[in-house]
Symmetry: C2
Subunit: 418 residues, 2 copies
Amino acid sequence: MVQVIAAELVWTGERFEKAVHITVDGDRIVSVGPAQAPADVRLPGIALVPGFVNAHSHAFQRGLRGHGESFPAGKGSFWTWREAMYKLVGEISWKQFRATCVDAFTEMRAAGITTVGEFHYFHHAVAEDYGLDRVVLDAAREVGIRIVLLNAYYNTGAIGEPLQGSQLRFRSASTKEFLTQMDALGKDLHTTQSLGFVVHSVRAADKRDLGEIHRESKRRGTVFHMHIEEQPLEIEQCREAYGMRPMQVLLNCAEVDDKTTMVHCTHTHPEDMMMYRTCGGRVCLCPLTEANLGDGLADLETIGHVALGSDSNNRISMLEEMRWTEYGQRLKTLRRGVHKEAAHLLRHATVEGAASLGIPAGAIAPGHLADFTVVDLDAPTLRGATPDTLLPALLFGTSEEAIAGTCVGGVWSLKRDA
Amino acid sequence: MVQVIAAELVWTGERFEKAVHITVDGDRIVSVGPAQAPADVRLPGIALVPGFVNAHSHAFQRGLRGHGESFPAGKGSFWTWREAMYKLVGEISWKQFRATCVDAFTEMRAAGITTVGEFHYFHHAVAEDYGLDRVVLDAAREVGIRIVLLNAYYNTGAIGEPLQGSQLRFRSASTKEFLTQMDALGKDLHTTQSLGFVVHSVRAADKRDLGEIHRESKRRGTVFHMHIEEQPLEIEQCREAYGMRPMQVLLNCAEVDDKTTMVHCTHTHPEDMMMYRTCGGRVCLCPLTEANLGDGLADLETIGHVALGSDSNNRISMLEEMRWTEYGQRLKTLRRGVHKEAAHLLRHATVEGAASLGIPAGAIAPGHLADFTVVDLDAPTLRGATPDTLLPALLFGTSEEAIAGTCVGGVWSLKRDA
């Protein structure tokens, strides 16, 4: 089906333009140009931007919202939060898991997110059935969000240690079993679904397995993601075990390229980052989660390509992720404008996210997926904005009330009749 | 008029309670207790919390949203932002000023704010007419928001320097003229309006005038607010002029008490803060603005009573101000729970704000003003919350979509029929 779309304003990569028509055939944009033919989809009072790409999510952690925020001993940390998360993992049924995924994905669409990179390590509903892998895909399908299932290999509880307790629900017994499951998952994916390879962290796999899975990912041409250097303790333990920092381990056993994304890099050594960046490696930051967990602030100026993720989904807002990406750096450096303008921030949530997930999205341009975030120009929080100030007004001054809906692969979902 | 209000949940200071009736007579709460008589106002699916108090606002700066966020030279700062602000001041008409105030106050109510402390230094529409003072009050009245007009004395452009250019629209020619205008303003205030005294900053008044205005404020029993130590440059210039830091100047020429609020204190020396705190002095932080301007993070653990303000109104969200008050400290200390629980954060936006502004608000308790923030328990972002997890879910996991409206002095304004 061909649709000609006429919105009041369209973000064409560097600015908002008026009187632009977008022609969509099926799930792809085929042309973007001056208004000509009568439009099929008329959107007055609406600006279209590329659909937000959430490059790192653990959907089930939406179930922890409001939990783990009391500190009777006055000593909360990432690790006490992890205990709360493990408790949830131990208790949740597959039905609750599915409902929580649906809630998280629904909230994402309301926040303008059209693609989620679901970093998925919670595999087993019963014994080692890998039942929850399919449940995540089904939940995304129900909500109509595009998903890249970043499926995780999780084999050890800490470096050289067996999995324990709740962690057993994450278990891949071997790389062979893991690859077999990847093959099975790949067989009947919907057009809005694809797969990526993950090793959970250097804590969760030995070096040999990490290398093997990265190689296999490369052989298949898919993306590879891993958590890295979010907490100083992880770095210390890795140095004790291997005499190297986690990023050095990665560089040592994998041929990093631009399909590789490391998530967090909060405490990555500048020399390691330089090396990683030289290889083309990408980074995903998760400002809301990294602030909530007290991880710290990565040094954005040393990093090359940056995507953004909602991670723990304690709050789901790409707008807030974008502004606090910049605000965190302003607070760290006491300067304004680490990003020279809002357009750079938008790239993190669109172009860079899409590249990190290996999908042709993130831009309103021919050949790209017809994924749009629909901005409500009548939102009171956008009052007074002009085409020139709209993007910074949106990114720094608004929240989800300014999002009127989304379009995923040419299929619209608007909060109100437009 | 007496109203008996039955909401599903009511925040009674330390927890949410069910089956509680609030009785309101006119604009005051007269009792809070077990449900008995049939209620006049039934609010199923609603939780009531004390109305948010925004203790520091410059409403007209709402007009800068989306402006001043491009940095072609890559060198933005607080001071370049101030130039953009002065440009707006130079250009704006009284009609635009009024419309911008109405926009800002309307957005505040949508964000659950029931009282604004309007730190008002932009006095003159034409020549030195003080015409905009009344315009601010009228705009607040139109919107129905409670206002404490924190009226500012602004006499010098920098220490010992005359006012220049746009700054002339802020001018008080003398303390005598300023006090005369305060008297005039005090004559016909609405019941939702009161006055507070302000000296804009140590940049804007000499020590003698600062001392005189603080004394006069004390004599009249009103609150006193001043900007302080937001930027290192202000501290340097003050040391050059007086051989003291701004906080030392204040302590030197004013008898600080618990009616005194210093706004920002981003770079306040711990010894000065200790002294200030010992006198009972309060602090107002503005996390969103301080992040936007690259000011830095105050050391919350050294501060006593903390209120919160939306300041530049680039974004108006007390929920985001609350969570980033805590998140900023987590990022600074790499620990979680500088506030032991969400209830402490809520106090900043309610009890402490009200105390800073000198009004009997901030709590749902007898004798307090009937000012409520109305929380929509059906908001998807609150799905799964229980009375125990509702507050942290609200503060860390939601935005304005979870605010169903406000009640100011017994007068309700709900976004939808409830």
